[in-house]
Amino acid sequence: MLREATNLIVENDDMPETFATVGAITRAEVMGEICHHLAPFQIGEKPITGATVITKDLAIDSLAVMDMVMEIEDRFDVSIPMNVVAEIYTVDELADTVLKLRARR
């Protein structure tokens, strides 16, 4: 079942701040963090899901996307090169990228 962003944000809010840099992370955590950072750019009531196309379904410009990515990078201690960011369209793809880079550390 596709869980909606709002659920994930609530879940994530209960997590200690330091969690990300120690041990393994789950996809839900990454999704939660991404949705948390994207929430301010939500258009109307349309929920943010894995399928949300970041620059199309949200009121966010490319610079703000890069700023959001920097927050995600620091939260999960990975670097996502700009050329990789350019190829990411959906929330799912961003989450997968973070998990992939984490696994490679």
Partner: protein, 409 residues
């Protein structure tokens, strides 16, 4: 579908701006009178947004040098530096800039934009890493698109953010190049360069610093932030422009790298464009002499910066974090910024307006730039005009007189 349809978003943003009856992007300087005055909309206007930090555009010695050069060598070179466009004067200018910095090599470009574009994209390639400040100038961002290197952004002026990113690269092979700016062009803040350099040393990263807005302004000799912070030797590549303090156009890069000159035959923005015309080379060479001979220009500039910055701050404006030749005034939103800008122009003061997507963090700014050529009276007038409009538009608190008037109601 029309070719330009993909710009629809920007077009609608732009028409929104134009609907206010003011178009800051189509402003015409009908006649420039001096470094600080021009006729705009038929009216004499004070210029506080022209990057003319030393006011050298009308320096008589620079103008004479340019005129003489035109008589001697004509209006243009009609060719590239690697073909027929390298005159003795281009080479002399390169030697003079290299000597100014105490570096071995210098390349002069037709613009600073092309210097950044070409140098940065040629210093790193596949398997290398390019680390740039989030608030980097467009020319640096564009360089990122012309290289195969992996590009990573770090938080603006945040050495810890850079360090985290260098650390994450671990022991991956490949060079690391870190790109910084002496003074940032929108808010006038400068990089914590010593801290950045320490991080770069720790991770064996090369440093390139763009001193576009700090040439002349910073350091005992005006070399820029690298000199002020005492890290000239640790800045492997220094880029700058002739289009601001030196009052002309053109760009340069200096370095001690023994192989630097190979860039002359690999850098496309150097090779495939015409070189600077003789008049510009001559005025820039003279302007450099003026910068060296007149350190008091730097003192005037900073005195003027203090007048404007402290003047605006005292009235309640939200400004960039520190004194700088660029004073960025924060405004709450884009439309208000445009309206404010227009009201300033109507009151006879020209500044730049900067709105998203051209600004960091989506801020809207009135971007003022100070010149050594401004008089105290001009800057006091500027503060007065801005204060009046700021109060009228509710951007800053009403003055004591207005508060008193309100109280009697």
């Amino acid at each position: 579908m029309g070719l330009l349809d993909r710009h629809a978003g920007l077009v609608s943003l732009y028409s929104e701006v134009r609907a206010t009856g003011a178009d800051p992007f189509q402003i015409r300087m009908e006649r420039v009178l001096s470094p600080t005055e021009a006729i705009i909309n038929g009216k004499k206007t004070l210029l506080v947004g022209t990057n003319n930090y030393f006011g050298l555009t009308f320096d008589p010695s620079c103008m004479e040098a340019a005129i003489e050069a035109i008589r001697a060598e004509g209006t243009g070179t009609t060719g590239s530096r690697i073909a027929n466009g390298s005159y003795s004067e281009h080479v002399a200018l390169e030697e003079e800039i290299a000597a100014f910095y105490g570096k071995k090599h210098c390349m002069v470009f037709t613009t600073g934009y092309q210097a950044n574009l070409g140098i940065i994209s040629n210093l790193v390639g596949a398997e290398d890493f390019l680390l740039i400040d989030a608030d980097s100038h467009a020319s640096i961002y564009d360089a990122c698109k012309q290289t195969q290197a992996e590009v990573v952004r770090f938080k603006h002026n945040d050495p810890a953010s850079l360090e985290a990113r260098l650390r994450r690269l671990g022991d991956k092979p490949g060079n690391r190049l870190v790109v910084l700016e002496g003074i940032y062009s929108m808010l006038g803040d400068s990089a914590p360069l010593k801290e950045f350099v320490a991080v770069c040393k720790k991770y064996k990263a090369y440093v390139l610093i763009d001193e576009a807005h700090s040439l002349g302004a910073l350091g005992d000799n005006g070399l820029g932030l690298c000199e002020k912070e005492g890290v000239l030797d640790d800045c492997h590549f220094i880029v700058g422009t002739f289009s601001k303090t030196l009052g002309a156009i053109g760009g340069y890069c200096v370095s001690n790298d023994p192989d630097f000159d190979v860039l002359r035959v690999t850098t496309r923005s150097y090779m495939f464009t015409a070189s600077l015309p003789p008049s510009i080379v001559a005025s820039v060479r003279q302007a450099l002499k003026v910068v060296k001979a007149h350190p008091e220009l730097r003192t005037h500039l900073w005195d003027n910066v203090a007048t404007l910055y402290e003047g605006l701050k005292a009235k309640g404006f939200t400004l960039g974090p520190e004194h700088g030749p660029v004073v960025g005034v924060h405004l709450p939103d884009k439309m208000l910024a445009i309206g404010f800008w227009r009201a300033m122009l109507d009151a006879g003061v020209y500044v730049n307006v900067a709105i998203p997507p051209a600004t960091p963090n989506g801020v809207s700014l009135l971007r003022c730039s100070v010149s050594a050529a401004h008089t105290k009276q001009q800057l006091d007038l500027m503060v007065e005009v801005m204060t009046g409009i700021g109060r009228q538009m509710g951007v800053i608190p009403a003055g004591p007189e207005q508060r008193a008037a309100g109280g009697t109601r």
